[in-house]
């Protein structure tokens, strides 16, 4: 990773968030152009850092945890722009942008020499990591949509509109964002888990299925699978599926960060050697 470019990206993300805050908090119809410019520059620098590494390594730079964090930050920020262009939800930025900021910050702090430990090589593995990160992005957006849904339906039920009522998107838009991101996230997560299994069964020996991260991932995957199927059949509406999406995301975060420290195979850390 190239730490200087990441720090610059971080600075522009921060500046963009500060500039966009009034528009986001007051639910104005659009973000001001200076905020969009700063955020766009942040995103451009973030991708520049990734391209820099990709050129250096001649493959996708997903070799270690800081690279994964930086890529995830890129996905989250890019998703913000896409959703902003599609739905014009300014308030979305309040949850999404700080997440991108924190991810970039974590990536910048941990950034080491390019190439890193180089633990993760091979096509299947690249697809596995890529799909998992895209899946995380999708399901993070489901989480955001769920939070917005709960808040807005709370406002509507209370009949006493406060600031949130004005700035949050309509329930139906939260619903649509929820469904679209859930489907996208679920497809990516499924791809990620399948390729992971494929690769592990080929490259790992021993009882790797008992790896805590794998177990946790499968558990999260099942939660989302159930959620997806009930959504499609229209069984659970609104609040219940919103709570489950929030729970699912929490489980996923624990899987991504917490279990990484417990898992020997998934540690990303060079000190833990892979068994062959």
């Amino acid at each position: 990773m190239h730490p200087d470019i990441l720090w610059a990206a971080l600075a522009f993300y921060g500046l963009g968030i500060a500039l966009a805050m009034p528009s986001m908090a007051h639910g104005r119809p659009a973000l001001n152009s200076s905020a969009l410019a700063a955020l766009g520059l942040g995103l451009a620098l973030n991708s520049a850092a990734l391209v820099w590494d990709a050129l250096y390594l001649h493959r996708l730079p997903l070799t270690n945890v800081e690279a994964a964090l930086s890529f995830l930050a890129f996905c989250v920020a890019a998703a913000f722009f896409l959703i902003y262009l599609r739905y014009r939800i300014t308030w979305l930025g309040i949850l999404v942008l700080p997440f991108a900021f924190v991810l970039t910050l974590a990536a910048a702090i941990t950034a080491g020499p390019v190439g890193g430990p180089g633990a993760l090589r091979g096509l299947w593995l690249t697809i596995h990591v890529l799909a998992m990160l895209l899946g995380y992005t999708g399901l993070f957006l489901t989480f955001v949509a769920a939070v917005m849904y709960l808040a807005q339906s709370g406002e509507l039920k209370s009949k006493r509109p406060r600031a949130l009522y004005f700035s949050l998107p309509p329930l139906e838009v939260c619903d649509r964002l929820y469904d679209q991101s859930l489907i996208f996230g679920l497809i990516c997560l499924t791809t990620g888990i399948l390729t992971g299994f494929l690769w592990a069964s080929r490259d790992w020996s021993g009882f790797w299925e008992a790896d805590p991260k794998i177990l946790a991932s499968v558990f999260t995957w099942i939660v989302y699978l159930i959620l997806g199927s009930t959504r499609i059949r229209g069984h659970w509406g609104g609040r219940r599926s919103a709570y489950i999406a929030i729970f699912g995301f929490a489980a996923m975060m624990i899987t991504f960060l917490g279990v990484s420290f417990l898992s020997s195979q998934h540690g990303y850390f060079p000190t833990i050697s892979r068994t062959r």
């Binding site: 659009a30 509507l156 006493r160 509109p161 004005f166 649509r176 229209g234 069984h235 659970w236």
Partner: protein
């Protein structure tokens, strides 16, 4: 540039006066050409809506354009203006710019943030443009006012919250359903209010309408009006599963729709939300329905509360809109002022250059024969002196552009350099 504005609006004049001074859209072009025929008036635009009539003119050649505009108004309306004096306001120069920007941004409207005014200003602009009444500065001013108006709509929420009960209902429906396109409205109790609410909903995109009423004939009548379907009063509950928005306004003395009724319809709805607008007093819908997932019930007091909150929200955003308008107006005034400076700077430069060349010619004889290099050196020397002398006054001119006292400064500098006042 010499701008003047004469106007009346909803604050200064009652409707009897406003309708007297109103100029119909079909007659705007004729009125404009009347205005333009007045001596010294270079540009003009007329904004005439039900809440305001404003005539703006640019008459750079006139010391005071007021008599010309006064004459136009009196002749056009064939009346003596003294009767309307107390209602008229007159604005000049920068005040005109700022006022027009506020008008276009809907900050001067009776209902602050109402969306029509921007379109009306744009329409007035188009008409004036077609009539050839906008040629330079005033066109720039109106154009920038439209830019400011659009920016206010985009960057503030001043126009987003509904401030009447029927619109508040529409807005709530939009907060639930997003777009109302293709949504089904169910009117229970065919009264005036429910008809009005249904009309607002259909004009916002709602498609099919069911109407139910205790007297079936009245339901048929209203249904025909909306190309909808009449529903017998005892079949209301069968239709709950099909409706997205239910407007109730019957004269029933007790609740008509209970929690259990709605609960029964929920499985068939597959969790699609349902929105009850209960404008009946006494109420028709049991407030306990609101406790059901995906069911939202608003009675008349709830709607009133929403309207109150919306008004506060608008006022808050209006303060920010004022900032944007002030910013944009100042930007435009500065640009116009610096454009206005160009002839002055050119005139001063020309004047000094003329002096320099005359003196050069006069001294050529005394120098005797100069080599080309020497001649060039003298040219450079005199040019350098001229530039140094001009540097101070010109940067002084440019830096003050847009300030109110700047006009005096320009006149003073012109006089110092012996450059006559321009005739536009």
């Amino acid at each position: 540039m010499n701008l003047i504005l004469a106007g009346i609006n909803h604050r200064t004049a009652p409707v009897e006066v406003r309708e007297k001074m109103n100029i119909r859209e079909s007659r705007l072009a004729t009125a404009l050409s009347d205005l333009m025929r007045r001596e010294g008036i270079l540009e003009g635009i007329i904004l005439s809506t039900c809440n305001r009539v404003e005539v703006i003119a640019n008459a750079p050649g006139l010391k005071d354009p007021e008599p010309a505009v006064r004459g136009f108004l009196a002749d056009y309306h064939r009346c003596n203006l003294t009767a309307y004096e107390q209602h008229l306001y007159w604005l000049r120069q920068d005040a005109v710019v700022e006022h027009l920007f506020r008008v276009a941004s809907s900050l001067d409207s009776m209902v602050v943030g109402e969306p029509q005014i921007l379109g009306q200003v744009k329409q007035a602009f188009t008409i004036a443009q077609q009539a050839g009444a906008l040629r330079s500065e005033l066109r720039e001013v109106v154009n920038q006012a439209l830019v400011a108006g659009r920016r206010v709509r985009r960057e503030t929420a001043v126009g987003t919250a509904a401030i009447s009960i029927p619109y508040a209902a529409v807005e709530l429906a939009k907060k639930i359903f997003g777009s109302l396109d293709g949504k089904t409205v169910f009117v229970v109790g065919a009264g005036k209010m429910s008809e009005l609410a249904a009309r607002h909903l259909t004009s916002s995109g709602a498609k099919s309408i069911f109407v139910s009423n205790r007297t079936y004939e009245r339901a048929l009548e209203l249904a025909a009006l909306f190309h909808g379907e009449a529903v017998r009063f005892d079949a209301i509950f069968d239709h709950l599963a099909l409706a997205d928005i239910v407007i109730t306004s019957t004269g029933a003395p007790h609740f008509l729709i209970h929690k259990a009724d709605v609960e029964r319809s929920l499985p068939a709805r597959k969790n699609r939300p349902i929105f009850f607008v209960d404008i009946a007093v006494p109420r028709d819908v049991d407030p306990a329905v609101n406790e059901l997932e995906n069911a939202f019930v608003y009675d008349i007091d709830d709607l009133e509360q929403v309207v109150d909150a919306n008004k506060k929200q608008r006022a808050k955003e209006a303060a920010r809109a004022e900032d944007i308008v002030r910013q944009e107006a100042r930007k435009t005034m500065r640009r116009l002022a610096s454009r206005e400076l160009a002839p002055t700077i050119v005139a001063i430069e020309e004047r000094l250059n003329m002096i320099r060349e005359r003196e050069m010619a006069r001294f050529r004889g005394r120098f005797g024969s100069l080599t080309p290099e020497q001649r060039e050196a003298v040219e450079d020397l005199t040019q350098a002196i001229q530039n140094k002398v001009l540097h101070g006054p010109i940067s002084e001119l440019k830096s003050g552009a847009g300030n109110p006292e700047h006009r005096t400064l320009v006149q003073l500098i012109r006089r110092v350099f012996g450059v006559p006042e321009p005739r536009d």
